[in-house]
């Protein structure tokens, strides 16, 4: 059986990739996708933990399910906002979103 730490490592790597994407990418949509990667890492964690730790209760699975749902809602809202920006500026690069500055 694949041990827990492998799942966790995969999750961590996925999370790191997502985080890197968030920090490195300049395209808002790409950032959104990177966030999805991070959330998936979370899901891997949750499910793995459930399987290895608390298999007799549904907590982990339920948690993961909620994360799916919320992530979907979040993405929908995010895309809508990005589209609104795109309509005005013809760009989704975060450098161009710079009207508000101190």
């Amino acid at each position: 059986m694949v041990p827990l730490w492998m799942f966790l490592t995969v999750g961590a790597i996925l999370f790191a990739i997502g985080l890197f994407g968030v920090l490195a990418r300049r395209n808002a949509v790409a950032i959104l996708m990177s966030v999805e990667l991070m959330l998936n890492a979370v899901n891997i964690n949750l499910v793995a933990f459930w399987r290895f730790q608390t298999v007799d209760t549904m907590m982990g699975q339920a948690f993961a399910a909620f994360v799916f749902v919320v992530a979907a809602a979040e993405t929908a809202v995010g895309l809508a906002l990005i589209v609104a920006i795109y309509r005005r500026r013809q760009s989704v690069a975060v450098e161009d979103v710079n009207l508000l500055k101190w």
């Binding site: 999750g11 933990f49 907590m59 809602a73 995010g78 508000l100």
Partner: protein
């Protein structure tokens, strides 16, 4: 803890306000569809009044259980209905109600029913944040609030600044919640528990201790730090505060912040008692940096909303002092933070309310546009003055007591240096608050002959909130006693 014996009656009563708000949201959407455009302004007024009523109903009918039942978890451990959640729920709903009343005359916002529906939904999420006692519940509540707030921040799609604020808020928020969530997932894994109140026991019983937990703790802290706009996760605050429609900014600065603090306090008190020396120190450092940076940056702001944004960053720093002072006598540190948030809610509503009204007339949001405000509208100027004094901690406004309680708690728990930092900071802050007051009273402007129209709902909302700020600064005992009960409720595991 026994979750199986659910007293349904009590459980439903416990979330009665949230249920009512859900109904309200639906009703609002229905009204939005059926009422003609000319009447839709009333939707805002209705939402405001109903929200007030819900707050009162919540106080009267869903009082938290006392005695043996105190601190009992409900709905399978999802929420805990105690004094802590009650006081936060009250302040959040009041903040939302005032926000509704202050939105009605705002162009492209005040006459749209679904705007109010979104506010109400965000309020529901915020209320649940305050009472959530399970990681899942906390996450859902957090996201309910956040997602609606992203939408609200970008609500004025045709306004570039609003759209930009929405996107920024969203991108930062999404990343941060992903990080938090990762932390939560680790916590769940380490402890085998999702219930906050069982986490601590789970953490100590498992073999995993120390660094991994610390990493999880910090990841969770990142998310909370973002929501309460603590440095270094504050960078979104000025942009979103400035860009979002002002009523939304009000709501973000008030309800969302209060709810996030509630969650943070409950979470850290319950989940990490074994690590309290550590996170207290981290939070103390964060408080110091947050206060100082917030205040120093606020000094340079010309835009009133940005100024209030930085001020709200600094205020978060003050409130953290209360959180840090966990060892203060009988939960008085938490109580101080709770009290501070209570008064801060009212105060900020007043401040932003005046900004809404003034910028509608001047068409601008610069501090300089407040020139001559005391001649154009003495009442507004006075309300703003009271609000700024309260933020600055000057009596008789409530902020004086707020700060006093915080510093007292800090000294009590041995953080004299933190109290001194807070004290020095409150003086720096006073500088820019006084500058605004000065502009209103001293500076002249060409248009000072024209009065600023203040419609009924604004008059009521601002009047009540201002009165509240002053009353809270004089008749302090009831709310403080309440806050103390809330603080003590947190100590009860």
């Amino acid at each position: 803890m026994d979750f199986q014996t659910i007293n349904w009656e009590a459980s439903l009563l416990a979330i009665l306000p949230e249920l009512l708000m859900t109904v309200l949201a639906v009703v609002i959407l229905a009204l939005d569809l059926t009422w003609p455009g000319s009447r839709r302004r009333e939707i805002g007024i209705i939402s405001g009044i109903v929200l007030f009523s819900i707050a009162v109903i919540g106080l009267v009918f869903s009082a938290p259980p006392q005695g043996e039942l105190a601190g009992q978890l409900m709905f399978g451990g999802m929420i805990r209905h105690d004094m802590f959640s009650q006081i936060f729920r009250t302040m959040i709903i009041i903040g939302a109600a005032l926000t509704c009343l202050l939105s009605v005359d705002v162009e492209r916002l005040g006459r749209r029913g679904h705007y109010y529906a979104l506010i109400v939904i965000a309020t529901i999420g915020a209320c649940f944040m305050a009472s959530a006692s399970d990681l899942v519940m906390a996450f859902i509540a957090l996201e309910t609030t956040s997602i609606t707030l992203y939408m609200l921040a970008g609500y004025l799609r045709e306004d570039e600044r609003s759209a930009e604020a929405g996107v920024k808020y969203f991108l930062y928020g999404a990343v941060m919640s992903a990080v938090t969530l990762y932390g939560l997932s680790l916590l769940y894994g380490f402890s085998g528990q999702t219930n906050i109140y069982l986490l601590a026991a789970g953490l100590t019983s498992q073999s995993i201790q120390g660094l991994p937990v610390l990493i999880a703790l910090i990841m969770v802290l990142v998310g909370f730090g973002f929501k309460i706009s603590a440095v270094p996760f504050h960078f979104w605050t000025p942009d979103v505060y400035e860009g979002a429609p002002t009523p939304v900014t009000t709501f973000v600065s008030v309800a969302s912040k209060a709810a996030s603090f509630a969650l943070l306090m409950r979470f850290f008190m319950a989940a990490f008692p074994a690590y309290d020396e550590l996170w207290v120190l981290i939070l103390a450092g964060a408080a110091t940096v947050t206060m100082t940076l917030g205040n120093l940056l606020a000094l340079w702001q010309r835009n009133i909303k940005r100024l209030l944004a930085y001020s709200s960053i600094a205020q978060a720093g003050y409130i953290l002092i209360g959180v840090v002072a966990i060892s203060a006598n009988a939960g008085s540190g938490m109580a101080a933070a709770v009290f501070y948030l209570f008064m801060y809610t009212l105060t900020n509503v007043v401040a932003f309310g005046v900004v809404i009204l003034a910028s509608r007339v001047t068409g601008n949001e610069l501090v300089a546009d407040f020139a001559g405000l005391s001649r154009r509208s003495p009442g507004l100027a006075l309300a703003m003055t009271v609000a700024l004094l309260s933020l600055g901690g000057i009596p008789p406004a409530a902020g004086f007591f707020g700060k006093f309680f915080l510093f007292t708690a800090a000294v009590d728990s041995g953080f004299i240096w933190l109290a001194l930092v807070g004290v020095i900071n409150s003086i720096i802050a006073l500088y820019y608050y006084l500058m605004v007051i000065k502009v209103m009273y001293v500076d002249r402007s060409a248009s000072e002959g024209q009065p600023i129209p203040v419609s009924g709902s604004y008059r009521w909302a601002l009047g009540l909130a201002t009165l509240g700020v002053i009353l809270l600064g004089i008749v302090v005992t009831p709310v403080y006693a309440w806050a103390l009960q809330a603080g003590q409720a947190l100590l009860l595991n």
